[in-house]
């Protein structure tokens, strides 16, 4: 296999004829086949990928090609691709095929990326371990007894196992950053609204963000730039300026003490302390306060489940998706189709969300959680008056064992403790690999920036990549 550092180098090789895109894609397909035990993919588009490889190869030869020409990308199976299955790793969408293509995916295709397949995830992107898939758990390629994180675990595992050049995930409460941390990748959750959600199967609409996994800081902004942009099909999308090579020499980094309290793994803490001491030589680092982030998990699970309970109502067995065979009457059709079609975690969240929106509970839960969201936003606004970036761990622990937390949803939820605030606030956040723990499991470092300041996140990612030797 011809090796390349990043897409820039790959493109040079392709242009110089030193690398055949067709061979490259074949190689990936072979590796995917050899790594089936990881269970990263729900669907592999062998024929399409080979076909587009040939076409893009020709385009490169002709000199007219897109920004991502030849980049082999895996897509989380919550995004629609026309005439391709869309399951969201759920039985309820078994055999469902999309009739249109998501804006984000279309943009990648327009820039000549090769879409190699759709990756597994937690059912409807609900989970932190990728164990909630109707098609079985995904294994962490670094240690196959462990989870890759979730919910974009398949996308993370596929890239970490070198089954693609990059992958696309979605992040509602940490679903890109946490798996990135667990598998040693860079994962970016962009500003809410920067990437159109049109074609993304909704989990929690006011939280959901589409973003990339990458192995290096040069591929990341490339993909990000292609994904970005206002879309007339998504009223919540916003136009944004493109990502620049930002000079961060004068930036201030805030370290919120609340993010280093009890519950954080000591090895992660000490590794981050090491990093901070290195960063301190180049940047001003100050301690900051985000006092209300302690309510993040509570507010997050009220608001996201509320939205989810409504978003998932459309899977009713009437028009498409799983329809129970035991339907005597309409009520029965709904009940049995949904009972058979949804997995436990999805059911748990639908019930929770239905409850918090119910008459008599709305004010106490949903409305209050909205207020808390506002207060947390205020915390961050204040913080960004003082600092450019906020540094924190991505996860409280490194990748845990498969099955370790499946019976303890609360402890599973707490895995998102550092990542949910960015989704509540709508700001961009990145997870950067900063070495491994004593079990040789990757540790992720999270940076959060103010809205639309992805450039700063990528700049700091580059800095760390260039200046830190991985432990």
């Amino acid at each position: 296999m011809v090796l390349y550092r990043d897409h820039d180098e790959k493109l040079d090789l392709l242009k110089a004829g030193k690398l055949s895109l067709l061979e490259n894609v074949k190689e990936f397909l072979k590796r995917i086949d050899a790594n089936k035990d990881i269970n990263a993919f729900n669907f592999v588009f062998e024929k399409d990928a080979l076909e587009s490889a040939e076409i893009i190869q020709e385009k490169i030869k002709s000199g007219k090609f897109g920004k991502l020409a030849g980049m082999v990308i895996a897509i989380k199976d919550v995004l629609s691709i026309q005439n391709k299955p869309l399951t969201c790793s759920s039985k309820i969408l078994e055999n469902f095929h999309s009739v249109y293509t998501a804006t984000a995916v279309q943009k990648l295709i327009n820039e000549d990326a090769v879409i190699i397949g759709k990756t597994s995830c937690d059912e409807f992107a609900m989970g932190s371990s990728n164990e909630n898939s109707a098609f079985g758990p995904v294994k962490n390629p670094i240690d196959k007894t462990r989870v890759p994180g979730g919910s974009s675990g398949g996308s993370a595992a596929a890239l970490a196992a070198n089954l693609c050049d990059a992958s696309i995930g979605t992040d509602t409460g940490g679903s890109i950053r946490q798996p990135a941390a667990f598998t040693g990748l860079i994962g970016l959750k962009p500003t809410y609204g920067r990437v159109s959600r049109f074609g993304l199967t909704a989990y929690a609409s006011s939280f959901d963000s589409i973003g990339p996994f990458a192995k290096n800081s040069s591929d990341l902004p490339k993909i990000m730039d292609v994904l970005s942009g206002q879309d007339l099909n998504d009223s919540t999308s916003i136009s944004s300026s493109s990502i620049i090579d930002e000079d961060i020499s004068k930036i201030k980094i805030g370290v919120p003490k609340e993010f280093f309290a009890a519950g954080l793994d000591t090895e992660i803490k000490s590794r981050i302390d090491q990093i901070i001491s290195i960063l301190e030589k180049n940047f001003e680092i100050v301690e900051i306060e985000l006092p209300n982030t302690k309510y993040s998990i509570a507010a997050y699970y009220i608001l996201t489940t509320a939205e989810a309970s409504s978003n998932l109502s459309r899977y009713d067995g009437v028009r498409y998706g799983h329809r129970s065979k035991s339907n005597i009457n309409l009520q029965d059709l709904y009940e049995s189709s949904r009972s058979e079609g949804f997995g436990d975690e999805v059911k748990r969240r639908i019930m929770l969300g239905t409850y918090v929106l119910s008459a008599g509970y709305y004010d106490a839960y949903y409305r209050k959680a909205q207020k808390v969201r506002r207060i947390i936003k205020n915390d961050f606004e204040k913080a960004f008056d003082k600092v450019d970036l906020i540094l924190s761990p991505t996860t409280p622990t490194t990748a845990f064992k498969i099955g370790e937390k499946t019976d303890d949803p609360l402890s599973m939820y707490l895995n998102d403790i550092y990542t949910t605030p960015a989704n509540l606030v709508g700001i961009p956040a990145i997870s950067i690999p900063i070495g491994n723990d004593s079990n040789n499991l990757p540790i992720g470092l999270q940076f959060m920036a103010n809205i639309f300041e992805e450039s700063k996140l990528i700049a700091v990612s580059k800095f760390i990549e260039n200046n830190l030797v991985k432990k």
Binding site: S98, A202, S205, S235, S310, R314, Y334, L357
Partner: protein, 478 residues
Amino acid sequence: MNTEFESVIGLEVHAQLLTSTKIFCGCSTKFGNPPNSNVCPICLGHPGTLPVLNKKVVEFAVMLGLATNCSINERSIIARKNYFYPDLPKGYQISQFEEPICENGFIEIELEDKSKKKIRIKRIHMEEDAGKLIHDQGDDTLVDLNRCGTPLLEIVTEPDISNAKEAYSYLSSLKQILTYLEICDGNMEEGSLRCDANISIRPKGTIELGTRTEVKNMNSFRNVERAIDFEIERQIELVEEGGEVIQQTLLWNADLNEAFPMRGKEESHDYRYFPDPDLVPVVVDEIWKSELEKRLPELPQKRKVRFVTEYGIPEYDSEVLTSEKEIADYFEETVKTTKNYKSASNWIMVDVLKVIKDEKISITDFKLSPENLGKLINLINSNIISGKIAKEVFPEILKSNVDPEIIVKEKGLIQISDTSEIEKAIDEIISQNEKQVEEYKSGKDKVFGFFVGQVMRATKGKANPQIVNDLLKQKLSS
């Protein structure tokens, strides 16, 4: 006794808007297309699709709000109303709940004693329509989602309506406003205007509202009246017999002339409204609002008053003519050609409206142009034809919109005002009917009519009746 109670009614009206596309997608709103042909992944609720609000719907909502004296909220929220039904693909209806687009307006209605009453409008909000279930095709229930996503405005009154007649009057006024604004065709029979009534009774003179019931499924103005009367009567009888009104939803059955309670399960909904996270708040700033204000047409009440002052026609005429915008427009077009306003009013109220009623068409489908009607009126005014002849000409010209001047000429219908010609006819008739002349001279005035008839017959109705009268009187008394 009935007199001990008074009824309190509030109406919820759904008006289907005349936009060419649906409220949240680009699908056509055209009625009558094959089932499930006006659909796309968005209105079918496919995974990943998102709604985008049709700007026209906001404009229509604001226009109705302005026309009904509402305050327009600068910022309003789109919400989801959650419930399961096969005609609702997403499992929720996109609507508005807290913070609707228009609030606190009123419509003034006229009561039987000609006094005016304000019916307050609590709110107007935008929402999407659901699809339709078809039950009469074999054993299965079929779903047609063409209508799904058609824009609606829901107009909710305060409980200011006292009886069925007032409800009828309110509905007529609202329909008038909607059609004047050209935002809804107001057709209750076809479902583009739907009305639900909240009804309660209380002892006369008390303030506290009684337990209300909601009556649905009234698909004509007449049925609204009948259903309200029925339900008031039912509640009064119930209470008088010592019973208690329970809060429930009733469905009006027009065939049986009765309202029946809906099954318990269908009405015990907790809709779990919450702001739709897929849609940003709707912002109507002052600039947009005043732009729309400028686009408002003259509204029926204003037009009615203007017709009386500008054209000098009776108030009754004005009311009939302005009842529908198109009729009023027809009148105003007609009086561009003729200055005989009262005559124009009469012709439209009597002859034109009769044809429309008989043929069950709308005035926009009426073939005779206002210009040609005006010409016909002018022919009478200038004594070219008699009114009688005009009534004969009218059916001839209305089918294919012929210029009455041409018909009158072609058929030789021009009125005879030449006294010598009429005199000749009179002389002949007098000489042929000596007996009647004797009778007349002996004081039998009634015979005069006989002579008029004979003259008109002899002149094939073309003789100027005034001249015939004058000459006959002269000749008979000589």
